[in-house]
Amino acid sequence: MPMPGKYSLQPALITVADQIGFLKQFFSNCFRKGFEWTEFFRQAYNVGYRSTGIIALTGFILGFVLTLQSEPTMKQFGATSMISGMVSISVMREIGPVIVALICAGKISSSIGAELGSMNVTEQIDAMEVSGANPMQYLVVTRILACTIMIPLLTIFADVIALLGGFTATNLGGAMNPWLYFYKATTALEFADVIPSFIKTILFGFTIGFVGCYKGFHSNRGTESVGIAANSAVVTASVWIIIIDAIVVQFTNMFVYA
């Protein structure tokens, strides 16, 4: 194989151009007639429902552990009554969206990457294209949209379960009225906590779907490249999630709290 020039920027630029092209194709196919509803619902089911178990478990443990760990410190300040609010703010604003997105990057991005990658290797995508059907519309649009919609829903689900976990942990020490707990947890939240983080989860969902599809579609020929596609989908999606998170937080601080 010919080696690219030392530290050449060219391959990276080609990749970026490729990704922008893919993005454009996604948007133009989104609004084309003949939307694949059945496939979309099948994907939404796969992405959403199939992940509820792991998301519930993680959410519960998150709320539970956060509560237990902050208890001794808060006790020193005599502020135990603020634990529920603190946990709910940190889960909703930061930990919930990021953890759910990272889990989904591992679970969903990789499976999309592997599935489309193996369809590419076995020429199924070529077959679709050459038959005059539209693989972008059938395979990519449905998957990206399913992720963009289901991952925010999964995050909301995780947030609620995390509160439940927090409540359980609080209740280990002494009985607390569940309504009081949820009241305190939710009144601590402000508009500025919820909306930016919700927007963030939409971006995360889109990224997870997009990266998985892109990596799968652009995998090389050969079985090995299916593994590579899945693996690099996870890595790339995770890195993007962290970057997007940082950017969104910056923006929120600039505009919302300014």
Partner: protein, 248 residues
């Protein structure tokens, strides 16, 4: 004049070149296929036969030369034109390329609904059964591709391609991996398609009996060029030793 209509050229390749990573696969392919003709391409493995028909279907871009289908340059088509062209072309992949997340029935419905635009349940069912009967797979309609044998997959791929009754058929090794009897049946089916629907076909094969049954004309590919062309009988008695060796 019916005479000229018969001579209409549907696929016209001129000086086609294609390399992969500096390795030249097609060096100079010039080939014309007339309407309603069955052209068989013979050649050793790895000569670039599959690459040639992928260029015809617009799946690969040739580096140089022209590839015209129905009188239009494939490389210069915009996506909409390419899509229209592809609706008229059937492509049987060497490894069948069945959609393995769908059942056999869904595999057949996929092109019918999206390409032929059929939505009538009865008609879809009837066309599916018809084509499955032709390849002898009626029992397998509710199976998943992973449950089919290699030869069954091949026949299934053929069924999925034939179901939309394309005007041009590109067969990549339609009979490889099949027993002699099924292989003959498939060859007869290809011939039948040509007779009934005036399909123009390019058939890549290593199977000489299949070539004998289906071909109107045979070309032999070697080192990225076509070195011989003629009917089966002509090539069998050719002067060139290499050409004759294909028929032994």
């Amino acid at each position: 004049m019916p005479e000229t209509a018969q001579e209409e050229i549907v696929i016209d390749l001129q000086g086609l070149k294609k390399s992969f990573n500096g390795n030249e696969v097609l060096s100079n392919i010039t080939l014309q296929v007339k309407k309603g003709e069955n052209l068989v391409i013979l050649g050793k493995s790895g000569e670039g036969k599959s690459v040639t028909i992928k260029c015809i279907a617009g799946l690969l871009q040739p580096d140089a030369g022209s590839c015209r289908v129905f009188g239009k340059e494939v490389q210069q088509m915009d996506p909409a034109e390419l899509k229209e062209l592809r609706k008229r072309i059937g492509f049987l992949f060497q490894n069948a390329a069945l959609y393995d997340s769908m059942t056999v029935r869904e595999n057949l419905e996929f092109p019918l609904k999206r390409v032929a635009g059929l939505h009538d349940k009865g008609e879809i069912e009837q066309r599916s059964m018809e084509v499955l009967e032709a390849v002898g797979l009626t029992d397998a309609i509710d199976k998943m591709p992973s449950e089919l044998s290699g030869g069954m997959r091949k026949r299934m791929g053929l069924a999925r391609t034939l179901i939309v009754k394309p005007e041009i058929m590109l067969y990549d090794e339609p009979t490889t991996g099949l027993d002699t009897i099924t292989s003959r049946e498939i060859s007869e089916l290809i011939l039948d398609m040509q007779r009934r629907y005036k399909t123009t076909s390019v058939i890549i094969t290593h199977d000489i009996p299949c070539a004998r049954i289906t071909s109107d004309r045979v070309v032999i590919m070697h080192n990225g060029e076509y070195i011989a062309s003629g009917t089966c009988e002509e090539l069998e008695n050719a002067d060139d030793e290499f050409v004759r060796s294909f028929f032994k």
